[in-house]
């Protein structure tokens, strides 16, 4: 058991996390070491696999457990290939090796998969086990839809998924025991489950004992004599200090974008500041007119709130990466990433959202739309960072829709993202905002189109005329996701879909909605 008083120094150079029922204390580790590499090359845990190395397949899925604000244990899947090891600091890292009981009994999730013939080559299986384990730990009784949602990031090339889904259905339909007793429990077995690491009370104790009270600062000297740093501030003051101290630091929030760059191409003389633990940057505040979201709030956390007010935006978030990606990806990080097809930026701009940015003690507010001013350029001054994002709550008579067109429904990057909002008064269009991703080098509003809509009656003719003007707003390019012609045509057709939504039910307009009503 580590002594809490060992945290006396203002800076700490060792990360601490729970693995295999023990506290691991690792001082000054190579900050570019991913969780996956640590597990496979140092931790002797080769059950976790690498298949794509970019968070796109789920073979490397592991579970992080920590205590949420209410002191409840929270289990979250993450892609271990994406994230530097320091990101597990203060949490418990659970891998496929941890699920069996001490005497070799399979976890119910594992047993269900075995019985359903749900593995063929077996390479994706550990990741699938961990995604279902996290779902199991949530205590829910998920239906097929929820099971599929939990598995969207776990690809399998062999089975066609049917037996995997069946295994989960079988598992969750049964009145499952929360604790599986082991037969031959070892002396001083750490918990009633006979599982070293998934026992609640043990985990709590261990997590409590590694709560971080001082910022983490890891320094690693490379062979060329330069220094890489990984800094983990826990509050805004520390973050400001660090930003003032080091030149051109890389800000890592969820790390789903930058993580692979850091881990695959380690640089020399690099300072990475992980802002995911800065408490002022986390959480949401709801007022009468708006939702304000801390920039480092994850998309998983944001989802239920946004989905309540803007179901179409919620749908976009459900299709953003996979659960494991959304568990760490942040809303601020997605804006800061300046993707030309950012789903969240498209929706936020259509909703006329604003953002607060900060340098030192100076804060300013700007619209999300004004943030990006070119393909790879934004308006942040040196040392300035995104603090929060605010989106207005829906007003009476307002209509909002958002769409994402991809080759695959889940876990795919948009060829075209679109979001539209307006207020309809006496069947006339007001306050209209038409925004597209994938149509230009950065997410942009269609100003000609908006002008043609403003004040006009909500009719097919209006939509048709306004749609034609998209050709003045955009000159989309051809790339591996879509051709310019398709992009323009679909951009126009999505306006039509928006119009049809006022006359037809969703199941007459979108194949996935129809599928849910089929038979």
């Amino acid at each position: 058991m580590p002594n809490l008083t060992s945290f006396n120094s203002p800076e700490d150079s060792a990360i601490r996390f729970v693995l295999g029922g023990e506290i691991k204390t690792l001082p000054n580790i190579d900050p570019s070491m991913t969780i996956l590499r640590y597990l496979r090359e140092i931790g002797n845990r080769t059950g976790t696999k690498e298949a794509c190395g970019e968070g796109g397949c789920g073979a490397c899925t592991v579970v992080l457990a920590d205590l949420d604000n209410d002191g409840q244990l929270r289990y979250r899947t993450i892609n271990s290939c994406l994230h530097p090891l320091p990101q597990v600091d203060g949490q418990a890292l659970l891998t496929v090796e941890d699920l069996k009981t001490i005497d070799g009994h399979l976890h119910p999730v594992q047993q269900a998969l075995v019985e359903a013939h749900a593995s063929q080559c077996g390479y994706c299986t550990p990741g699938i086990v961990m995604s279902l384990f996290a779902l199991y730990q949530s205590g829910d009784h998920p239906d097929r839809e929820a099971i599929v949602n939990a598995l969207t990031g776990n690809l399998c090339r062999c089975t066609g998924y049917r037996p995997i889904i069946d295994a989960a259905l079988c598992l969750f339909e049964s009145d499952r025991p929360t604790v599986v007793e082991g037969n031959q429990r070892m002396n001083q077995s750490p918990g009633s489950s006979g599982r070293l690491v998934t026992d609640d009370s043990i985990l709590r104790k261990l997590l409590d004992s590694i709560k971080r009270s001082h910022r983490l600062s890891i320094q690693e000297s490379t062979s060329t004599g330069k220094t890489n740093r990984y800094l983990l501030p826990v509050n805004l003051a520390e973050l400001s200090d660090m930003l003032g101290q080091y030149e051109n630091p890389v800000l890592l929030a969820g790390g789903t974008d930058i993580g692979p760059l850091v881990s695959q191409k380690p640089q020399n003389n690099e300072t990475i500041i992980f802002i995911g633990k800065v408490k002022e940057l986390r959480g949401m505040v709801l007022s009468d007119s708006s939702i304000t979201i801390g920039a480092a709030t994850t998309l998983t956390e944001v989802y239920p709130v946004i989905a309540r007010y803007y179901p179409a935006f919620g749908e976009l978030l459900l299709r953003f990466g996979s659960p494991a990606v959304r568990n760490l990806a942040t809303i601020g990080g997605n804006i800061a990433g300046r993707s030309p097809v950012s789903d969240t930026a498209t929706a936020l701009i259509a909703l006329d959202s604003t953002m607060a940015v900060r340098v030192g003690s100076t804060q300013r507010t700007l619209s999300v739309e004004a943030f990006q001013i070119g393909a790879k350029h934004d308006v942040l001054a040196p040392g300035e960072f995104i603090e929060s994002i605010s989106l207005p709550l829906p007003k009476e008579g307002s209509m909002f829709s958002a769409y994402k067109i991809t080759k695959r429904h889940d876990c795919d990057i948009a060829a075209i993202a679109a979001a539209f909002s307006m207020e309809l008064k006496d069947n006339r269009i007001h306050q209209v905002r038409v925004c597209y991703g994938g149509m230009s080098p950065y997410v942009k509003r269609a100003t000609h189109c908006e002008r043609a809509l403003t004040g006009m009656p909500w009719t097919p003719d209006t939509i048709e005329t306004a749609g034609q003007l998209l050709e003045k707003d955009f000159e989309p390019t051809t790339d591996r996701r879509a051709s310019s012609g398709y992009r323009m045509l679909v951009a126009k057709n999505l306006l039509q879909r928006w119009y049809f939504e006022s006359t037809l039910p969703p199941e007459s307009l979108q194949v996935r909605a129809y599928q849910k009503t089929y038979e």
């Binding site: 298949a51 593995s119 090339r157 979108q510």
Partner: protein, 755 residues
């Protein structure tokens, strides 16, 4: 249940990258061509050698034996030296102390190129007469005359895309040098003996037997580890031989996608003549495929495409011309179906065209063209279709899946649905089982019995998830009448069973099951003879059943009998061998019996498409598939479902895109999309035609199942086409190439509206 299921779910199943490595193991990385076709003018590796952690750097000049990894044509070197022929072709390799150091070192190379004009596509290759192998023709009757005299005539061009294997485990080999100058290689490969031979040749070893190649399990292969693993094993071996240290060579996903071959994309130009009933009278097709920069298996793949151009349909007068295009892209290779999916896809488009031209249901046209036992039963290559299974499967499925009723319901739906359209299709498959290279149809096995009655089983097949090891163990357990738990399943190992063929062509269990059965029978026969003599009764009175042996009126346990036999000095080890009977194929004339039998199946798929965006979804699938008398229905069902969804991916969302410089643009999981969990249809009914034993003498009358169901996914494509047709006024036939991405679907809808 898969024999490794428990190991899979606990993460305890070891793949090559999980094996403990010897001390001082080095890690390999490749320096590859950045150009599609170029002369290499400078290859300066000085800074690579100086890079931290680097132990060895090898190029074509460092190969002690032959700089060659291909056997069929001598056209694929380990390393290019002066001329590179595709992006991703290896120029050199590095072994360093870590994976990261090896990759960092690669970036230090100074390579200069003098670019040459490259040929990237089938169209360009045809225009330039760029072929990797001579074109071939399969002809029967007089297609020209039949086309001229037919009442109706259609012609057109069709394109079907390639496919990335996307096996989860990327290519990996671990080479460990021996003290005798030989080498031991753990490789994720479907073809250990190919690697064994190639490594011996590259290293210039006098004896193939000095190389041992082992593989316990592969994390997915699908044809992509038949020949494609060879390069990585050879380079690991070369670096291990140079340094005297173990070397691991494992690719990143992106490296794997860039450096390894894929399914061939095809262009087909066809002409078809038919009568008022839609019966085909004459058919001519030019099948041209993108083979890439070397021959690899392209000859046999295109042969199989020719042999499956008929699918289930009798073609009285037919000419099939096959062109094997050489392009400056990675050398395309085996992939589940081995050329048959593309050819069958082409034929199914033609049936669809005929049906829409005549205004009839495509299913009626399909049925009218089926092979009929008796009169219309001979394939273009002269082998007869003897089973009546096609008719049985299709009529049963038509009824069970309510094809006709649903057709009517869908038409009604489509009349009232302005934006969404549904489509329905039933497509059949007939798949020829055997390697068309006749000599590969052989297998060996090795069975040991130990004094406690346990069994050690080895055979030449590799386990890539398909459940082969489970099936073969079942065969041995059944033969010896013992529990599966007594059998130790072991890794494919060139030192245990020599000269094994690739585990491919769906015949893994047909071949290895028979070989293991033969070995088990040999031992069993010895035990019977021994028991008869020992207990002084007739051999017929020795009966094995359920872990026990009846010897006349008394019973002893299997274990007791084995122990007794050991004491009486009876050999308890045997090899088994099998060669497929009856097959003979004249490759020059394209006639004979290339296959022992056919596997059949059919699928009904229903889809919905969005006419505003081309988005689509698979609503329902019903499959009836022939596995003979299934060795393991759960495993066979898994093969059918997995193959189906993989096929659906090929024909819908999986799109390979190269840029004008020949650089693959879809080279990551974020840009190349294979089906995900939600793409599995909610209504997915799979039934095996279980009551029908194989008419040929196969292992327990089972049938091959690995590849045939892949082609059932063509029903998804035809259903999409059906839905597109419903978006138009039925005057124009939808033109849709594969894969049917949302973009192609929307274009096809625009196209039928544009008149």
């Amino acid at each position: 249940m898969h024999d490794s299921a428990r190991l899979h779910v606990t993460g305890e199943a070891d793949y090559v990258d999980d094996l403990p490595v010897p001390a001082l193991t080095l890690y390999a990385a490749f320096g590859v061509s950045q150009y599609a076709n170029a002369r290499v003018t400078t290859l300066d590796l000085e800074r690579v050698r100086q890079s931290p952690g680097v132990a060895s750097v090898v190029t074509a000049h460092d190969i002690p034996g032959e700089n060659l990894i291909s056997f069929i044509q001598a056209d694929e070197p380990v390393f290019a030296s002066t001329h590179v022929e595709c992006v991703g072709q290896p120029l050199f390799a590095v072994a360093a102390q870590s994976f990261q150091q090896a990759r960092a070192a690669i970036d230090c190379a100074r390579v200069e190129y003098e670019p040459l004009v490259s040929v990237l596509t089938v169209e360009q290759a045809l225009a330039d007469d760029s072929f990797i192998l001579p074109s071939k023709r399969l002809s029967r009757g007089n297609a020209t005359h039949a086309l001229e005299s037919a009442t109706h005539h259609l012609e057109g061009q069709l394109q079907v895309g390639g496919q990335e294997h996307f096996y989860f485990e990327s290519q990996v080999s671990l080479a460990i040098p021996n003290d005798n100058g030989g080498i031991c290689i753990h490789s994720a490969t479907q073809y250990p003996s190919h690697i064994q031979q190639a490594v011996a040749r590259v290293l210039g070893l006098k004896r193939i037997s000095d190389v041992t190649v082992m593989c316990r399990r592969i994390g997915g292969a699908f044809g992509g580890k038949e020949t494609q693993s060879t390069l990585f094993a050879c380079v690991a071996a070369l670096l291990a031989a140079k340094t005297g240290q173990a070397v691991k060579c494992r690719l990143t996903r992106q490296e794997d996608m860039v450096m390894t071959g894929k399914r061939h994309d095809f262009i087909a130009l066809y002409q078809v003549g038919f009568d008022d009933e839609g019966r085909i009278e004459g058919y001519r097709v030019e099948l041209s495929s993108r083979c890439g920069m070397s021959a690899d298996l392209s000859g046999f793949i295109n042969d199989r495409a020719m042999l499956h151009s008929d699918n289930c349909y009798f073609l009285p007068h037919v000419t099939i011309n096959s062109h094997r295009c050489k392009t400056n892209t990675v050398s395309n290779t085996a992939f589940r179906g081995f050329g048959a999916p593309q050819a069958i896809w082409v034929m199914e488009q033609i049936i669809d065209e005929i049906a829409r031209y005549l205004g009839q249901d495509p299913l009626d046209i399909r049925k009218r063209n089926f092979y009929e036992p008796g009169r219309r039963s001979t394939t273009p290559y002269g082998m007869r279709v003897e089973d009546p299974l096609l008719h049985e499967i299709v009529s049963r499925l038509e009824t069970d899946a309510r094809y006709r009723e649903r057709r009517a319901e869908i038409e009604d739906f489509n009349r009232h649905s302005p934006i969404l359209k549904r489509g329905l299709a039933l497509t059949p498959v007939k798949y020829g089982v055997a390697f068309t290279q006749t000599h590969l149809n052989q297998a060996g096995a090795l069975v040991h019995l130990y004094i406690d009655g346990s069994v050690y089983l080895n055979h030449g097949g590799t386990e890539m998830g398909q459940g082969l090891y489970t099936k073969v163990a079942q065969v041995v357990a059944e033969e010896l009448q013992i529990d599966m738990g007594r059998i130790t399943i072991s890794a494919a190992d060139t030192s245990k069973v020599p000269n094994a063929s690739a585990t491919a062509a769906s015949v893994g269990s047909d071949l290895n099951g028979k070989a293991a059965q033969a070995a088990a029978r040999t031992i069993k026969l010895r035990l019977v003879e021994f028991a008869a003599k020992h207990f002084n009764i007739r051999p017929e009175e020795v009966v094995f059943s359920n872990n026990r042996v009846s010897i006349g009126s008394q019973q002893i346990s299997f274990q007791e009998l084995v122990a007794l036999a050991y004491h009486e000095r009876i050999s308890l080890s045997a090899t088994g061998f099998y060669r497929t009977p009856e097959i003979e194929f004249d490759r020059s004339k394209f006639t004979g019996r290339p296959f022992l039998y056919f596997s059949y199946g059919a699928a009904v798929s229903e889809v919905a498409i969005d006419t505003l965006t081309g988005e689509n979804t698979l609503l329902k699938v019903d499959i009836l598939h022939d596995c003979g008398r299934s060795l393991n229905p759960a495993i066979d069902r898994g093969q059918i479902e997995g193959a189906f969804l993989q096929g659906a991916g090929w024909l819908t969302m999986e799109e390979l895109i190269w840029n004008d410089a020949g650089v693959l643009q879809t080279n990551t999981s974020s840009s190349y999309k294979i089906p995900a969990c939600r793409d599995c249809p909610v209504h997915f009914n799979v039934e095996l035609l279980e009551t029908t034993p194989n008419r040929k003498d196969t292992v327990f009358s089972s049938k091959a199942v690995g590849e045939p169901p892949f082609m059932l996914a063509i029903s998804v494509f035809q259903a999409i086409k059906d839905a597109i047709a419903a978006a138009g006024n039925r005057c124009r036939r939808p033109q849709l190439d594969a894969p049917a991405t949302p973009e192609r679907i929307l274009n096809a809808i625009q196209d039928i509206h544009s008149t």
